[in-house]
């Protein structure tokens, strides 16, 4: 019995499915509050861990889904696109994207959702993204050698750790649960800090309440 998934869609059904998947993607991003730069950057000030919770949670849910379905023979994991590993470009690219994230307040996906819900700064962010991609495109021939360096093809954690995929999935889930626990601790301590000390800090006015992004109007 060959596995039924992944399907091989084409034509109209492919377009509809792509749009639908995108729709839910955008929908849940906005639901999670990722249209607000305040909430997004809150993560890096230990104030609001939703970025970690949502991202890591989504990864674990999808990973376990993939694991069970391939274990039950319903999904052929071999046919799934696994992003290739380019060690150095991904390291350097990550650093740049992280810097852009904290500087700009968004990442490409959340930037779109923010822009659509009326965030003007997000529009500038998206313009910046197109600019960045254009610069990369122009510079790529010169950077090509580095862009290909550290190539390891499709390399997964189970191969690296020399453990069966099931075990690695279980470990990642454990790490995730640990991270969520840390997140809860950190957030509750921040709220405590917020209540008692925030007013007392010299000069800078209290930062706005985390949950509702009543940022100052334009």
């Amino acid at each position: 019995m060959t596995a039924t998934f992944p399907l091989d869609l084409s034509g109209a059904s492919f377009i509809v499915v792509s749009l639908l998947l995108g729709f839910f993607f955008g929908f849940f991003l906005e639901r999670a509050g990722f249209s607000s730069a305040i909430r997004l950057t809150g993560q890096f000030y230990f104030r609001d861990w939703s970025v970690l919770k949502v991202m890591f949670g989504a990864i674990v849910v999808a990973m376990l889904g993939l694991a069970w379905l391939s274990l039950a023979g319903v999904l052929d994991f071999g046919a799934i696109y696994v992003p290739e590993t380019y060690l150095w470009p991904q390291l350097v690219g990550g650093l740049l994207l992280g810097a852009g994230f904290i500087l700009g307040g968004y990442c490409p996906g959340t930037g779109v959702v923010a822009a659509v819900t009326g965030k003007l700064d997000a529009l500038f962010f998206l313009a910046g993204i197109f600019g960045g991609i254009w610069i990369f495109g122009a510079a790529e021939p010169a950077l090509h050698e580095f862009h290909q360096s550290g190539a390891r093809g499709v390399l997964t954690l189970p191969q690296v750790l020399n453990l069966p995929a099931g075990v690695v999935a279980f470990l990642v889930t454990l790490v995730a649960l640990g991270a969520f626990w840390v997140a809860e601790m950190s957030e509750s301590r921040w709220r405590l800090y917020e209540k008692t000390y925030a007013r007392g800090r010299s000069g800078a006015p209290a930062s706005p309440a985390p949950s509702q992004d009543e940022a100052a109007l334009v």
């Binding site: 019995m1 492919f14 792509s18 749009l19 639908l20 995108g22 729709f23 993607f25 955008g26 929908f27 991003l29 906005e30 639901r31 730069a37 950057t41 890096f44 919770k53 991202m55 949670g57 989504a58 990864i59 999808a62 990973m63 889904g65 993939l66 274990l71 999904l75 799934i80 696109y81 992003p83 290739e84 590993t85 380019y86 991904q90 990550g94 994207l97 852009g100 994230f101 904290i102 500087l103 990442c107 490409p108 930037g111 779109v112 923010a114 659509v116 965030k119 700064d121 998206l126 910046g128 993204i129 991609i133 990369f136 495109g137 790529e140 021939p141 090509h144 997964t156 954690l157 995929a165």
Partner: protein, 428 residues
Amino acid sequence: MSEQATYLPAFSERMIKKHHVAIMLLHWFNAFVWLAELTTGAALIQSDRFRFAPQWYVELVTGVFGTRANMLRFHIAVGLTWIVVLAVYGIFGWRTYLREEVLKREIALDRDDVNWLRIRILRLLGRSNEPLPPQGIYNAGQKLFALTVYAMVPLIAISGLIMAFHWGPASVVGWAVVVHFLAVAVVVSGLMIHVYMGAVFPEEKPAFFSMITGMVPESYAYRHHRKWWEEVKMLERKRAAGELEEAAPQASSRVWAALRAREYWPAYWAALGLGLTLLAAFLLVGQGLGASGGFTRYLAFLIQLVAPGYAASHPYWSNYVQAGRPVLMDFLALELIGVALGGLVSGWLAGRLRWTTDRGPSVPVRARWALAFAGGLLSGFGARMARGCTSGLALSGGATLSAGAFVFMLSVFAAAFAGAYLLRRIWL
């Protein structure tokens, strides 16, 4: 059975809450698991010396799964899921729910229960017509069944794991086979009564629906579970007198309310939604979600429009503009449109559509725009260098355990945390 004959309070057919939503979910999850495991389990035992089910049945179920190996793999997959879910319920729900609910109300057999059982059996044999003693939230029969299940489940789980992963020598696996079959047989014999009394026996019809809505009519509670009814009455009197302060929201329709709620969803629900969408993407189009890939294609489309020659010849852009395949006929490009729509709808439903600029308290708007643009430049360049961004490489790469994705995620968070300290002026 004090004032039963004289006083039959007029019941306004009010519904009383019997089951917590978590219990209902767990019950139907268990029902599904037992259905799946029993059907495949019975079919998995093939040799005549061990078989329960008839041969035609074994062939029928094997046919459904194609090969017996697939059937075993499915049986193990469902079994593992069952164990994990029960473990999660047990671990997370122990303090708040299990210790109090299970030990006190589901298992503890008091004198009334014992008499109930005795009389019930004698009645079956037509040898007694004593009235049955009053019962708690679950009658003695249900408690007895719960007891057997709680006893047998660990045996089934452990012996199942031993068989699936061959923990220990062959002799241990051999005994695990026996324990597994026997424990299941014990539960099945109890299950027959449970299913009959729950689903078939007319008198217990309200109990069946209570497992769906969580509510039971007060009259049923009064007649079948008197002690629990009195408990509820006592609680209501207290609440009426204002002594109780916990309030259980009577949400009429949770879903619609969640949609319209002004605050953001709790992260874990959003994570679940996002995770399932990501999983659906893998299943339907064989690849994960993404964003920066979409941008690149739109830019490539733009360049091809403006200067087709340059695009075709350029070493980087050329691999996006192959003849015969329109640039935008790509999952990531289409998906990006969806993202925009999804964000719009969600923002609209939550009433968050407003022209504004998110900025730190001490940053003028124009400066914020400039910073956003600069951030965009860095993000765009970084995303292309890494061949993916937080939604593409991190999410999809993370879910498929791609090593590069984890490297990428670590460096994103590292840079962001480091940057956050440097740029604390513009955000805090």
